[in-house]
Amino acid sequence: GAGEKISLTELLGTLKKAAPSTVPNKKQLKSLKEASKTLELPLSRQETEKIHRSVAYDKTSADVSQWQSVVVQNRKAEQLVFPLNQEPAGPKPVEQVVTGWKAQTPLEQEIFNLLHKNKQPINDPVLTPVEEASLKAMSLEEAKIRRAELQKARALQSYYEAKAKRERKIKSKKYHKVLKKAKRKEILKDFEEMRKTNPAAALEELKKMEMARMEERMSLKHQNSGKWAKSKAIMAKYDHEARKAMQQQLEMNKELTEKLVVPSESEEEQEGVAEEEILPDFVNDAQTVIDPANPWMMGKLTAEPPEPEEKAAPERGAEVAVHKEKDEEEEEEEEEEEEETLLREFEQKRQYRRAEEEDLLPMPAPLGPDEAIVEEEQLEKEEEDEKEEEEEEEEEEVEEVVEAEILEFNSLIQNCLGRLTRVQTLEDLDVLGQSVSTDTDIPDKESTQAKSNSEGQPEKVGQKGGKKKKMIDLRQVLTKEAKIIKASIAPTAVEGEEGEEEQKMIIKEAFASDDVISDFLKEKKKEAQASQPKVVDLTLPGWGEWGGVGLKLSKKKIKKFRIKAAAPPPRRDQHLPNVIISEKRNASIAAHQVSQLPFPFENTTQFDRSIRMPIGHTWNTQRAVQKLTTPKVVTRLGTIIEPIDKEDFIKSKTVAATGKQPDLMLTSGDKKVEQNGKRFQRKGPQKKGNQKYGPQKKKNQQQKKSVQSKKSA
């Protein structure tokens, strides 16, 4: 009815009473609940094992990595003395040995006074004040302050970075334009200022601007010739904006290419200009000269050009050497007789060239004119003497000499020496030929130069390349250097028979000299050929084609079956015409050499250099020998060497970490331990997933324990 209220409890009461129908529902609900509460399947054996393994791996690797530093340290150590943790040998400080001891005698007191003056520690604190001060260098407060400072700096930095990043991402063109303009203005302003305050830097800046101008002038960047500009040009007729943009670009170009005129207002610059004016012209002269070889192009004060020519000569030699090798192969077929005739010809030409080259070369250690004349006189005297003595004997021999040789000598000497002396007999020629270089010491460069130029010999030289060069070099080596004839103060006693015999020998040798050289050259060539790798000829006549007497192998076949080996490295005596160096490997020493690069070394030079120092007593002082031969490992006799104790090195580690702050240790030891504990705990959460496994927990506890025990100790 109206006004009657029904409460929920009443309704429920009815529900309870009418239970029989709802009971099965309840049961069903209950069973449903129970059905959803099934047990999870255990992980498969493999997976659990895998997890076990990974955990075990982490644990052991953490364990092992603790050893890392110790191992590295021991490896690095210059010397390891086992057993490791022994007390330091040698005398201990007195204070440790006798603590309750006092200076009594006057001498002792005096000594102690001295020690006091030097601030040496006497009593309990073993450390000197300086050492203590250094230990106290940074207190906890200071460290905190510094850390805060660092933090602040870092925060600021990140803030600025973020700002810069944001600005960079702005895409508005107008914004950037305005920014650029502002920047440019600022730069100009700076520049003006800089010109007043720091002219040198301004000059630098100016140079940069000049560079920018040059770059602009080189490029077509703002010339309205780009793709963009062309498209705008089409639109320009109708579009005001486009026209403006193009105009702007052109203006930019103009602005950039405008020549910078720096007004010479300041006094310094004027001075600078004055200085420049003071400098003589020839200072700049050398730079303007293009051809160093042409003396006329150079100013009066610049040097004469012998040096570059001298440099050029060896280059030519190198070129020639290349030719030479090719030529040698061709020469193989030639007969020896031909060679000899050739040799003679070459000699002749060589003399020409030598005369030339000597003239061109700067004279080493020029003699005083007087000395030179004296020497020449001596030479002439000697020649005369010799002539008198030998003429009679030698005439027969002279007649035997081939006409060709006389001709050769004549032409030769006339060419190179004719200007100096008149040549009369063959002996004269020979003697002169030997002393060419002494004669050339006499300075008459100009005449020879003129001569050589007039005859146009350089061309000739150019035409004949190759093999002559080698022999020229040889001759140079044998005769070319400046010879100094010394006045012997103590005269030689010429003993009748022996002297004459000697003279004869000398004459013989003088005539045999050319043979000596050519023989040597032949030998050298032979040697070079022998060291060349041989061509392996595998051709079989008659295979694949007709064979028989008079039939030649086809080129194709020769090409196919002749195997050429790679060219050997260039001979060491390549550039030494008077030397044959054996290229044979010294196998006997190889047995004692290191044949493979030892492990940590990266290249042979590294290894060679590492063993370059002799370590014996013969070359070193006693101390150096001891240092150089210190054994890597030393074991003390009669002591038990135990493996490194883990406790030990961990302790040493912690001590090392805190060693710098002993006061901290004393005052806040508890804190320290806590910190340690934290550190271990910090390690824990990283492996949070593994925490449910027993061993890990246990280990942590153990560590804590050990730390505590340390504390108590």
């Binding site: 010394k486 006045a487 012997s488 000299s513 010294n586 006997s588 047995a591 990266e602 002799p614 150096a624």
Partner: protein, 596 residues
Amino acid sequence: RTLGSKMAAASETNVQVAHVGKKKKVAPKRYWEHSQKDSKEDIQTEGVKPKRLGHAQGTRAQQRPRPVKTKRKNDIGKFVSGKKDPFPGKAPIPKEKLKQFKRGEKNELSSVTHRGLKDSLTLSEAASDLAQSQAARYNLLLPEDAGFLEGDEDEDTCTIEQGDISEAVDITSGAKYFNLVLSQFGPYRLDYTRTGRHLLLGGRRGHVACMDWHSKQLLCEMNVMETINDVKWLHSEAMFAVAQKKWLHIYDSLGVELHCVKKFNDVLRLQFLPYHFLLATSSATGFLQYLDVSVGKEVAAICTKLGRLDVMSQNPQNAVIHLGHPTGTVTFWSPNQKEPLVKMLCHRGGVRSIAIDKTGTYMVTSGLDRKLKVFDIRALRPLQSYSLPAGATCLSMSQRGLLSACAGDTVQVYQDVIGTTVRKPYMAHKVRGSVWGAQFCPFEDVLGIGHGDGFTSMIVPGAGEPNFDGLDSNPFRSVKQRQEWEVKALLEKIQPELIGLEPAKLGEVDKATWDMRHQERVERLGFDPLAKEKFKPRMKTKGRSSSANVEKRKKKVAHEDQRELIRQTVEARMEQQKEKKVTAIGQRSALDRFKK
């Protein structure tokens, strides 16, 4: 006897020799001199003080001692009181000294990437730095300096005669100029021991004498009744070798014949390599032979095929023997190679004599063409060339770089032939009879000359090295010390295999390829250890080992091998062709299909 006393003795001789017209020798500055001078000045000033005060009146000499005492006391007090050391740390080592003891280039640590290597290299570099600096620092212990003869103005040193020199110097030094008149068994060869103490003379006509030439005490004298070509001391003064007409003989210092080495015949010249204990001989038949003196074995016999070998010299740096030939060539030899290491054309006439300086850097040769040439052995290039009016024989280099050249009966000594062009001799001397041998005495300013009329000992100031190594060659050693040295030297003997042009090669990594090494091994062993074994058919019974069958089996194996070889070559060729095809496809024309 301590080392110091020996050194003092050496210094005395040196100073005494160099009296005549020599630069006044300024004693090297000592660190204590400065302080002494200072103290003296102080003494004087202090000595004046009391005078002014009028406390004491006496001679200065009387007053001196007192102020010294006070001063010293003051000094000590000041120093100990904490005044700063004006020269803190170690004394600096001059750079040149350091450079002198530098051994090769340092390792560049910046390029090393391996960390462990870097560490070990830094350690070794530090050690070698220490060794270098210490060696340079200890050089201070060699205070003796050599002097030279210096003439008055307008006076040539070469005109100063030996008699004048010996009169001017003290008695001991003067006694070093002497003549032995031995005209009977004429011209003499000579040799000094490495210590410079003993002299060995060998006359052409068989006279052999050895003596301690300082005391002129004769050790032995005899006549071997045979022509003598050369004489040489062995490692010590206990033994010497004589190249006689037929064989090589070895005697002891009492003249007892120890050996007659019949493997060595017609020997003309002898050289002894002290660190290898090798006696090198060159013979008239063109053989260069090496005799190991420590074991008495012939190490090498090389047929040079270059004729009579009467010019011989050794390079003290690398123990290479230099031979001179009548063709004007000089050849370098080691016992390990049957051909010359280097052959060098030096003269247009025959080579008459060779001398090599102590460092083994320079070689001086003289030839029949009357030239004297200086060569740089490292570069094998000529440095200087002199022409002498009478040529030169018997070249000899002193320890300090003086060169003696003989011509006929004159002996000339040149100074600094290598660096500068010399115009006149430094000293000259004339002997009776032509010179047959000349050698500078080690550690003495003496040149020994053997000639037709005996022997002359000539004083040449500045020839010998003033500082000697007491452990290597000690002129003042006793018999006991000599025996000790002998044992040590034998223990440190260098094997003849290590003789070569570059002794530093031993410290380098051998860069030869495997092939080269294998080839050498094959040569050494006489067979190829890696070669495939030849197939040898097994013995089979029941007629299966008939010769036809054996042959068949052999062929079978051979065919198999060949098949393998062919397969390989074919495969290689196929690959080549494939590559060719790949490259050629791009350029194929339409008509290529008709090609066969």
